[in-house]
């Protein structure tokens, strides 16, 4: 399965069209933060923009931390979310090493990228794309885990996109 990547953020103009698309189409709640991809300036507008989104860990610490099964491991990295099971405890957000899960103050719900790719068409500069995960170097990943290195964990190679799993449980 493919994952969403923000590989060309140097091109970003800060229009927020990707986050607004996610908020509008996936989460049905319009804001800057109720979205799986969120854009912030990298230290004032003169220094460009950063995208905050799920890096598609496999295994995903957020899914492992979820006590109710609302978060489940997604094949290919990242998570599948069933909000009807969520108790709004916020453990997923705490577990995420890259702050990709937003716990919303108003709804109390977690917002995370589900790698559906619906935002991609709305980026005017192709900063984001749905792409295959790079082939993992399993040995160095294992070494990283053993030494407590908290770098993100790329998915295993060889998995294919499964469109039937794209979508949100809402």
């Amino acid at each position: 399965m493919k994952i969403l990547k923000a590989n060309r953020m140097e091109r970003c103009i800060g229009c927020h069209a990707c986050s607004l698309a996610c908020a509008r189409l996936v989460h049905k709640r319009l804001s800057w933060v109720t979205a799986g991809i969120r854009i912030t300036s990298a230290g004032g507008l003169s220094t460009g923009f950063e995208a905050r989104l799920c890096l598609a860990c496999d295994p995903a610490p957020c899914a492992q931390a979820c006590p109710t099964g609302a978060y489940a491991q997604r094949k290919g990295g990242g998570v599948k979310v069933d909000r009807s099971l969520c108790i709004r405890c916020g453990r997923c957000a705490e577990a995420c090493p890259v702050d990709a899960v937003h716990m919303d103050g108003e709804t109390g719900l977690p917002y995370v990228c589900i790698h559906c790719g619906r935002c991609v068409a709305f980026c005017p500069h192709e900063c984001i794309e749905l792409a295959d995960q790079p082939v993992a170097d399993a040995a160095s990943d294992e070494a990283g885990r053993e030494t407590g290195d908290d770098k993100t964990l790329p998915r295993k190679a060889g998995q294919v996109n499964d469109a039937s799993e794209v979508g949100h449980a809402d």
């Binding site: 103009i13 800060g14 229009c15 927020h16 069209a17 607004l20 908020a23 509008r24 189409l25 049905k28 709640r29 319009l30 804001s31 800057w32 933060v33 109720t34 854009i39 912030t40 300036s41 004032g44 507008l45 003169s46 460009g48 923009f49 919303d104 103050g105 108003e106 709804t107 709305f122 005017p124 500069h125």
Partner: protein, 587 residues
């Protein structure tokens, strides 16, 4: 919160008492939003009989019913009594402010009163604070911006900061309010209004969200609009060279003001053309939040500050109008010199167009001996950027009686010192269109005294005849079309993407059917209301002067036809009075 009801949600903050309240201001189908909402609020809460300088006069920031919901619905209307004209006025800006207000949960923010100490107002969906920022007095816009980052840190990247520089604090009547890094509420003195309220800055955090309507109408229409603005060539020119592409075009037309409008074309244009900026200095483009076009062009200014190889670099935004006002108008033909001057203007918090045109008048007055170094405190020469940098500081800081007078506008200074014949003022300092009679009248009498009120400059280029009635009809109809857009509040670059029917569809897709149905009628009503407020606060079109310099202009069509210009002016004046009288009768 979901979109519901027919009231606009307005936060009113009184800086005098520190009290605030949320108003549910009824009548959105009638006042719509943006320009209409600001006018309706002034009509209800303003003091038309009191002077503009009365701190009780409201300063209003209004968005529209479609703000944040559709592409390019990304601007904010600032409504205020202008310290320059004394009249009801508007200025529009983008940046992140429109979405910040939307996500803070307000259609408008209305500020009255004067704070006891220099203050910063912080507004969010669950916060309202007034902070004492006395330590920022006299600080420039950039330094202030850095200190102000402490407010709303948790919404970093999702907030907007409006602040003024020394010019606004000192009450220069064309001081602007800077929005985020590269946008401004410019021209008629919104910055001086903030200064008069002891309001150094406003921070709005967009920290909430809105539930969207069920059904497919809204996302489907959004996608259609998005594709129309990004999938076609409609917006390409705004992103590519940007508005700066007009430098070469207008210079070739003989319609680009040079050296205080002493000429309308010059072969030295290549040094400051949009192409020159793009090829040599363009660093990147950026966008207002909610707009995929990215029309904001950022140039790289590299300056040597000491001997050997000591350089600093800055990022300076440029556009057609700033390059005209601080380039060709000042006889500057080097693009880096223009960026250097724009950078200083930005820091001081002056409107770059008005300031540039004012300095152009000083340069000609100095050249002709109308003013001397006794008044100007130093030489001011066309083509010499260093003299203009020094002059900008004098202007912003009011370092002599002459510079204080100039801070009230060129005609104010010219009436004291002489040189009114060559004052390039049409209601306010001119915009960069020496296209002919209809434009000159449209700026002189237009609501904002701006090229943005109606397309008079385009009419001059397309009209084959001199039909007075047709010209005036064009000005009024085009103003109406632009006003409906300004009530939403879309960027005017999007006017082709948003014909009235499309705006109605958009309103209906969000469940605002009453607003959709009433749009044509309410647009006309708000057009009349704005003019009524302008007249009630002192505007008399017959008193506006069109200085002699405008009658001496030669364009591609030849010399100005003064009789035609007078006829257009008289007919436009009659129509404005008719609109205001009809509105009073209906009321």
């Amino acid at each position: 919160m979901p979109i519901e009801g027919t009231a606009s949600r307005v936060l009113h903050v009184d800086l005098e008492s520190g009290a605030s309240r949320v108003l549910l201001f009824e009548g959105r189908p009638h006042h719509l939003g943006g320009s209409g909402l600001a006018a309706a609020l002034y009509d209800a809460y303003g003091l038309p009989e009191s002077p503009a300088s009365d701190p009780r006069q409201p300063l209003i920031f209004a968005i529209g019913p479609l703000s944040g919901f559709f592409p390019l619905m990304s601007k904010v209307v600032c409504g205020f009594r202008s310290p320059y004209t004394g009249e009801w006025a508007e200025s529009h800006a983008g940046g992140r402010l429109a979405l910040s207000l939307r996500f803070a949960g307000y259609d408008a923010l209305m500020i009255t009163g004067r704070a006891r100490t220099l203050s910063c107002l912080v507004v969010g969906s669950r916060r309202l604070e007034i902070h004492d920022v006395h330590y920022l007095r006299g600080q420039d816009v950039f330094t202030s911006g850095k200190y102000l980052r402490r407010y709303g840190k948790e919404s970093s990247g999702h907030r907007s900061t409006v602040r003024i520089g020394p010019a606004g604090e000192r009450g220069v009547t064309f001081a602007c309010a800077n929005v985020d890094s590269f946008r401004h509420f410019g021209r008629l003195g919104a910055g001086a209004v903030m200064g008069g309220k002891n309001l150094k800055a406003l921070v709005v955090t967009g920290d909430s969200g809105i539930e969207l309507p069920e059904g497919r109408d809204y996302p489907k229409l959004y996608k259609e609009v998005y594709q129309s603005v990004t999938g076609t060539d409609m917006m390409q020119k705004y992103h590519d060279l940007g508005t700066a592409e007009n430098l070469l075009v207008l210079n070739e037309l003989k319609a680009l003001p040079w050296r205080n409008l002493q000429a309308t074309t010059d072969p030295a244009i290549d040094g400051i053309s949009g192409e020159r900026f793009a090829e040599q200095l363009l660093l990147r483009q950026t966008a207002c939040a909610g707009c995929p076009v990215g029309c904001i062009h950022i140039g790289l200014l590299r300056q040597q500050f000491a001997r050997d190889h000591e350089f600093l670099y800055k990022q300076v935004s440029y556009d057609y109008e700033p390059i005209f006002a601080q380039g060709s108008m000042l006889g500057l033909t080097n693009a880096s010199d223009v960026l250097a001057l724009l950078d200083e203007t930005e820091k001081l918090g002056l409107d770059c167009m008005s300031a540039g045109v004012a300095l152009a008048w000083v340069a000609e007055a100095f050249e002709k001996g109308v003013v001397t170094e006794k008044e100007t405190l130093g030489p001011v020469h066309f083509g010499n950027v260093a003299t203009f940098v020094a002059a900008l500081h004098h202007l912003a800081n009011g370092t002599s009686e002459f510079w204080q007078a100039l801070g009230k506008g060129v005609l104010y200074a010219a009436d004291i010192y002489g040189g009114a014949d060559f004052a390039c003022v049409l209601g306010q300092e001119m915009a960069g269109y020496a296209t002919g009679e209809v434009y000159f009248v449209s700026q002189a009498l237009g609501f904002r005294h701006s090229h943005l009120d109606s397309g008079g400059y385009a009419y001059d280029q397309s009209a084959k005849d001199k039909d007075v009635d047709k010209a005036v009809r064009h000005l009024l109809d085009d103003e109406y079309k632009r006003l409906t857009i300004n009530c939403m509040v879309a960027c005017l670059f999007a006017r082709k993407a948003y014909p009235p029917e499309r705006l109605q569809e958009a309103l209906a897709s969000l469940g605002m059917r009453a607003e959709a149905d009433a749009l044509p009628e309410s647009g006309r009503a708000m057009q009349a209301l704005r003019w009524s407020l302008k007249f009630r606060t002192g505007f008399r079109p017959e008193n506006v002067r069109i200085p002699k310099r405008f009658t001496e202009v030669v364009t591609w069509k030849g010399p100005m036809d003064v009789d035609y210009m007078d006829a257009v002016r008289q007919a436009y004046t009659s129509e404005l009075y008719r609109m205001v009288v009809d509105a009073a009768r209906e009321a």
